[in-house]
């Protein structure tokens, strides 16, 4: 087992290095100048601009810059933002809690709702519940999150005035009213994301359960006289959940990606919003850092999924 994890880790490291190289190369080879924000300002004389370029090391060929970037990354230094002149690490640390509070909670709710829905759907196949749940799941992953978000804003923030439609990140939670305020402003973004996550995972859980229900071991369990509840929960569910767990792990990076849109709709100052703003400002250090974080998340959760699969399913041989 230990060797299997080690081997997967050894594959993951070169993958991350290659991806960081690709990300850096795309940014370096792009025709857009990272200093265009300065370049557009006529008050900056050309000599000063050349000086800034030189100081920032932009005159070096890009493979050299890549090596410099990676070596400072290895020391935990992500560089300094062109726009706000603060350290990229600090910016990300500032934004991450907002993203996690929305995305993390939404994903948790999604998983907690999806598994029972998928299970009941499969056990009562073709019942009214199943029809409603499958249709809901289908609608849930066909409707773009930006459209659900806008609909929620129109209905609940503008018509009914139940929730604020702009997320206030300066809110300090120190008592019950401020906590309620936080809950109120989080409900809409969380609903949007949770709807999508629930739909995807519920559909998958249902399909997995349906694969397992007609198998021989289920008949054996029933013929031993076990209660239906025990058969479903202890035998079928546990086996069906193995691939679901993998899906949940693999979905984590995609969820962060999806948060870019949700954060944009509700103006949540999270990491996705930081990325979109940085792209708009041509703030290369921030963009590269966030892209790299996303890439590391993908590789990391691929690894987690593989390892979980091996731990949960003893039939998988890890050679």
């Amino acid at each position: 087992m230990g060797r299997y994890i080690l081997r997967r880790l050894l594959i993951a490291i070169p993958t991350i290095i290659v991806i960081s190289f690709v990300v850096y190369a795309i940014l370096a080879l792009a025709p857009t100048d990272p200093l265009s924000a300065f370049g557009a300002d006529p008050r900056v004389p050309p000599e000063v601009r050349a000086n800034i370029r030189h100081q920032l090391g932009l005159d070096d060929p890009w493979p050299v810059r890549y090596v410099k970037w990676v070596s400072s990354l290895a020391q935990g230094d992500f560089g300094i933002s062109f726009m706000s002149h603060s350290s990229v690490m600090d910016l990300i640390k500032q934004r991450l809690p907002n993203t996690l509070a929305v995305v993390g909670v939404a994903y948790l709710i999604g998983v907690l709702l999806a598994v029972p829905i998928g299970m009941i759907s499969a056990v009562r196949r073709y019942s009214i519940f199943d029809h409603v749940a499958t249709t809901f799941a289908f609608v849930g992953f066909s409707v773009p999150t930006f459209f659900t978000g806008i609909l929620l804003i129109i209905i609940f923030a503008i018509d009914l005035r139940w929730f604020p439609f702009i997320y206030d990140s300066t809110l300090v939670i120190d008592d019950v009213p401020s906590f309620l305020q936080q809950v109120k402003q989080s409900i809409m973004p969380i609903t949007v994301l949770a709807l999508f996550d629930t739909a995807t995972i519920a559909r998958y859980t249902r399909a997995e359960m349906l694969e397992h229900l007609p198998l021989d071991y289920v008949r054996t369990a029933r013929s031993k006289g076990l209660k239906e509840q025990v058969v479903v929960l202890r035998h079928v569910l546990r086996n069906s959940l193995i691939p679901v767990v993998t899906l949940v792990a693999l979905g984590v990076p995609a969820v962060f990606g999806g948060a870019i849109v949700t954060e944009q709709i509700f103006r949540v100052p999270g990491i996705g919003e930081l990325l979109v703003t940085a792209i708009g400002n041509g703030d290369t250090p921030v963009v590269t850092a966030i892209l790299l974080i996303f890439a590391v998340l993908v590789v990391l959760f691929n690894l987690v999924a593989d390892v979980l699969y091996a731990v949960l399913d003893p039939r998988i041989k890890y050679a």
Binding site: I19, I150, I154, I260, L275, V287, F294
Partner: protein
């Protein structure tokens, strides 16, 4: 009439091809049929609509700005008083064209790579490593960055509309071929061991002919299902990009772009956001249902 003729008339039925069979199965999937109807309606709406409905899409009229649906403007107007129905019809053409073209690109790339990896053992490992690498890329953030960086140079090379169109189709295609490649590879791995491939080889068929004429047709149905669902995904991606302000320029009103422009006026002009959003939603939902119906129809295990 002879006895033999009567018998033949009684026992022969018109031959049923795979596709006729599939269609017969598909028709029994009620939701997929409704979806097919909806999608046909939407396509006719965006293709034929502008021929019948002559209101120009870019006439600015501030007296009419942000008006809800009326007789003059059936779906209302935007902040510059431009007619939304005309804009939505025009935008739909682009959104759907982007979806189909991007998927054609992704499918051709994926099928080629999957076929090569599955058929030629020595290409398998390197090609699958590349596939895994592409699967590890953070797709949405990368799309945003690439579009931002290369937008201006492509715009000057091909003009504002074609340049952006080519770029969006290109990046969506290049970042979405991996699932198809895996699917095709898996099918090729099992199919190339089959007797019919051996038979083809024994009569002297070359690799190229075996791949294209013998194995590929057997892989077609899962690829078709993946392609159908892929079109929905590509339309979603395009509208997401436009919604983030990084897709088509403001003068090209794709559905996502209209939504992006509308989002600051949700309180006074909700119709502006609701109609294009509904179009995206209905298109993607019908495509997904059709894909689901196709999957059932083309799955030989489910044929009753």
């Amino acid at each position: 009439m002879t006895k033999g003729g009567v018998l033949a008339a009684t026992f022969t039925r018109p031959p049923r091809s795979l596709w006729k069979d599939a269609w017969w199965q598909f028709r029994r999937h009620r939701l997929a049929m409704i979806a097919l109807g909806t999608l046909t309606f939407l396509i006719v709406f965006v293709l034929v609509g502008p021929l019948v409905y002559h209101t120009p899409l870019d006439t600015i009229d501030f007296l009419q700005s942000l008006k809800g649906p009326s007789a003059d403007h059936p779906l209302g107007t935007d902040d510059l008083g431009r007619d939304l129905l005309a804009r939505i019809m025009f935008g739909g053409r682009i959104s759907i064209a982007v979806g189909i073209t991007a998927v054609l690109l992704a499918i051709s790339l994926g099928t080629t790579i999957g076929a090569l990896a599955g058929f030629f053992g020595r290409l398998d490992n390197p090609l699958m490593r590349i596939t895994d690498l592409f699967l590890s890329l953070p797709i949405l953030p990368l799309l945003l960055v690439i579009i931002y960086l290369f937008r201006d140079s492509l715009r000057s090379a091909f003009g504002p509309e074609l340049g952006i169109f080519l770029m969006i189709v290109g990046v969506i295609g290049i970042l979405n071929w991996m699932p198809v490649a895996r699917l095709v590879r898996a099918s090729f791995l099992s199919l190339k061991q089959k007797e019919f491939v051996e038979a083809a080889r024994s009569i002297g068929a070359r690799d190229r002919r075996i791949i294209v004429r013998h194995i590929l047709p057997n892989v077609l149905s899962p690829v078709l299902v993946a392609a159908t669902i892929g079109v929905g995904g590509a339309i979603l991606t395009e509208s997401t990009l436009s919604f983030l302000g990084l897709g088509f320029p403001p003068d090209v009103p794709t559905w996502g772009r209209i939504l992006f422009d509308a989002r600051n006026y949700l309180d006074i002009a909700p119709h502006w956001a609701i109609f294009p959003g509904l179009c995206i939603f209905l298109t993607v939902l019908s495509i997904n249902f059709i894909g689901d119906g196709l999957r059932d129809a083309l799955d030989p295990r489910k044929t009753s």
